[in-house]
Amino acid sequence: MSRDLNPDQPLLEVKDLHVGFAADKKTVVPAVIGANLTVYPGQTVAIVGESGSGKSTTAHAIIDLLPGTGRITGGQILFEGQDIAHAKKSDIVALRGSSIGLVPQDPMSNLNPLWRVGTQIKESLEANGVAKGKAADARVVELLEEAGLPDAARRAQQYPHEFSGGMRQRALIAMGLAARPKLLIADEPTSALDVTVQKQILDHLDRLTDELGFAVLLITHDLGLAAERADHLVVMYRGQVVESGPALEILQDPQHPYSKRLVSSAPSLASQRLSSVQARAEVREQAVQTAAEIAAEVATHDDELGEGRGTIIEAKDLTKVFKIRGSRPGQSTDFTAVDQVSFQLERGTTTAIVGESGSGKSTVARMVLGLLDATSGSVEFDGVDITTLRKKEQQLALRRQMQPVFQNPYASLDPMYSIYRSIEEPLRLHGVGTAKERETKIRDLLDKVSLPASVMTRYPNELSGGQRQRVAIARALALDPEVVICDEAVSALDVLVQAQILTLLNELQSELGLSYLFITHDLAVVRQIADHVLVMQNGKVVEQSTVSEVFENPREDYTRMLLDAIPGGSIPLGVVEAGDDV
């Protein structure tokens, strides 16, 4: 592509940008405070930050797509030397697409479900006056091919629902690049996708950047991913740029305390590896010891379920077949979501089940919890087959000894229940203690999960995601269970919060001798919490071993692929240890 761009002339300069959202007529809540950043032609620059840091707001301010009451309240945005923050609306509309392209965050909701994919790309070609009619149709196919979609001519005729998430994101990239913009803003382009798909898409985007020479402004919460893909990093925190500079330099030698925190917490980064393995070994030692004492006690008690064995959960040939409704009534096809899965969970240890979406990992968790009946196979809890439990007391006893923590902290607490009522519910259901004793217990539980007692009177909507997850953990621990099943329990949280919750889970495990079944799509966190790991793909277990074995010596290609896809995994790091200045 021939472009008369001077590579030493900044393509985009954001100078002292202030963005605010009007809460009501008088008050403006600042979202971005004095942000500066510069992007040169052909460069990839990443803005990194947690949710609410103002990273997306900055990106949206650049293309004038601020949501709702958002306004630029100060500063300049220079695109090729021209201030576009104070330009006419029509000029910015002309700029969008043709000079600045956007790849939005959520590939599921950003395509119109009623239009063919090709038509939507054609629209952006025609809107920017690139091509019309037949020529545009041909160009659409070329663009889809370029974005890495096989069989592009046929795909262009399909509707979005016929595309997988990765294919949709490719279509959106094709759309963003349709008019050959000089700058592509990619707002969390892969956070909704599986890691292996994420890697493919980002690799492809890298290739396109090199070929076509456009610049990319990458917005992401993942420091590892940002460092791997970008030349220049901008770290944002609470609306401010706290640190910026060459990607590698920041990663190896972060200066600002916040960047230090980020570097030490990001699960995908190598710095965690050795220290986390050691820390994990200590946790396990303590937990196994405590758990053995509990087991000895269980063995002598009659009212508790189980025999006090060392293996607390044993799944044998667990299979779940779902019937999918066919085209005619009464007709159905079988879909095997979980296929002959066997594993053991030893007391005081953590077994992780890792897999991408659709691998059947959550279905396994639900069967172990008894929320879903297995088609065949069995789950033994401490020597007792849970599928044979018919008596109500036995089922309640099982509930006491095995508790879940779910993925979405925004959905797993009843919004109408105060925190006190939420944690009290299991105690009430099982008739534990008097009102006074229950209150003491709840205070104790909140203390265990490091929440102040004042949180009791509050409601879930007033708490942050991390706080809600702490409440969910407190509720799970209310009945003093032996096993906690964490179904993607940290996936929806920001990295720093995620690190905190993982630490909390580790502490609780060593203190209470808990055994965890830890379901996750993120192989990176496994090292910090798990001892054994099952890698699942399409309902089957492809590899099963200790964590160190899987990380250091993966036997299966699929496991290797998952490991390779961890962003930033191969970046050499400086000597920042966890806990340093945090």
Binding site: P10, E228, Q240, P246, H430, L463
Partner: protein
């Protein structure tokens, strides 16, 4: 960082570290304890209180409640005391809106007419909502054949137009029990309207319950050992109430109109009962003849204003409770 990219620092991209004083670090996951704790309902109420739509409609409805409870405060005339000599006479002192064809006081009939209309509206809404909520919640929560059965029954009732069905039912009732008192007549209309009004609520409730029961907190409660019944009553129904309340508020207006329509057609409340519908019905001849339009205007206006305030209230409540508007 991939190889082959220029790594020399260019103007504007020098290493920059913000001063810690300018960018203070906050505790991760610190709790804001400055504001008092608030439940969802409290928050909705706070939002409602600021909504001018709500303030206007609430003021109107409050005023209406006073009129219904103490009609004597507004007029000392007996609405059933009519003198044919005053037929269609214009306003005079003590009778600010003049007289209708029978020579009754239009103003006092307007005041006393509120009671029948609003009573019918409130009772019908109450019964239809309760019935619809139970059917919808059971259908949505238990699913399978229970859902199919209840949903089909609701569809059948839904397919019959509300007014048409009530007309048929009430004309039958009228021929069997021609002379009824106030409450018997009100009850007949309420039952007729509620019988064909509940499927609307049931549909909304079923949808809301299906959405709620898929939430993780319902699974969490199950895993804690809660029985399905407890789950339904303690978790699912309370969380599904918002759209039902909105529908109920809006349909209150619709039921008031339906009562007026039925009375207008001579099938609703007997003419011996003072109601807006009856007065509008009685006034239609004057309107046709072009005499004393006020006899039609005042009861119709009062009816319109009442329905308007309830629909306004429904809108305001929807704004406060709509989960989509609350997602941040």
């Amino acid at each position: 960082m991939p190889d082959g990219r220029p790594s020399k620092t260019r103007p504007g991209q020098e290493r920059y570290v913000a001063r810690l004083e300018d960018t203070p670090l906050h505790d991760v996951g610190a709790l804001d304890t400055t504001a008092p704790p608030e439940s969802q309902w409290k928050e909705a109420w706070k939002q409602l209180r600021k909504n001018p739509l709500f303030l206007i409609s609430a003021a109107l409805i409050l005023f209406l409640a006073v009129v219904i409870a103490f009609p004597g405060l507004f007029t000392s005339n007996d609405p059933t005391f009519c003198r044919t000599g005053k037929s269609l006479r214009p306003a005079e002192p003590g009778y600010p809106l003049g007289f209708d064809r029978q020579g009754c006081d239009v103003y006092s009939r307007m005041i006393y007419g509120a009671r029948a209309s609003v009573t019918v509206g409130l009772l019908t809404t109450l019964i239809a909502t309760a019935l619809g909520l139970v059917v919808g919640a059971v259908a949505g929560f238990y699913g399978r054949w229970i859902d199919s059965l209840l949903s089909r029954v609701a569809d059948i009732f839904y397919a019959i137009p509300l007014l048409l069905a009530s007309i048929v039912l009430l004309s039958a009732l009228n021929s069997w029990f021609p002379d009824r008192g106030f409450w018997a007549s009100v009850l007949a209309i309420v039952l007729a309207l509620a019988l064909f009004g509940w499927p609307q609520v049931a549909r909304i409730a079923r949808g809301a319950v299906i959405e709620t029961k898929q939430q993780e907190f319902v699974d969490a409660a199950r895993a804690l050992g809660a029985t399905p019944r407890r789950n339904l009553l303690r978790h699912v129904v309370p969380n599904s109430l918002a759209p039902v309340i909105v529908t109920a508020t809006v349909s209150l207006g619709i039921f008031i109109v339906a009562e007026a329509t039925l009375s207008f057609l001579g099938l609703g409340l007997p003419t011996s009962i003072v109601s807006w519908g009856n007065d509008i019905s009685a006034a239609q001849n004057q309107v046709r003849a072009g005499q004393r339009l006020g006899t039609m205007f005042w009861p119709a206006g009062a009816l319109a204003l009442t329905v308007f305030s309830f629909i306004l209230l429904g809108d305001a409540v929807r704004d406060a409770l709509d989960p989509k508007a609350k997602k941040r």
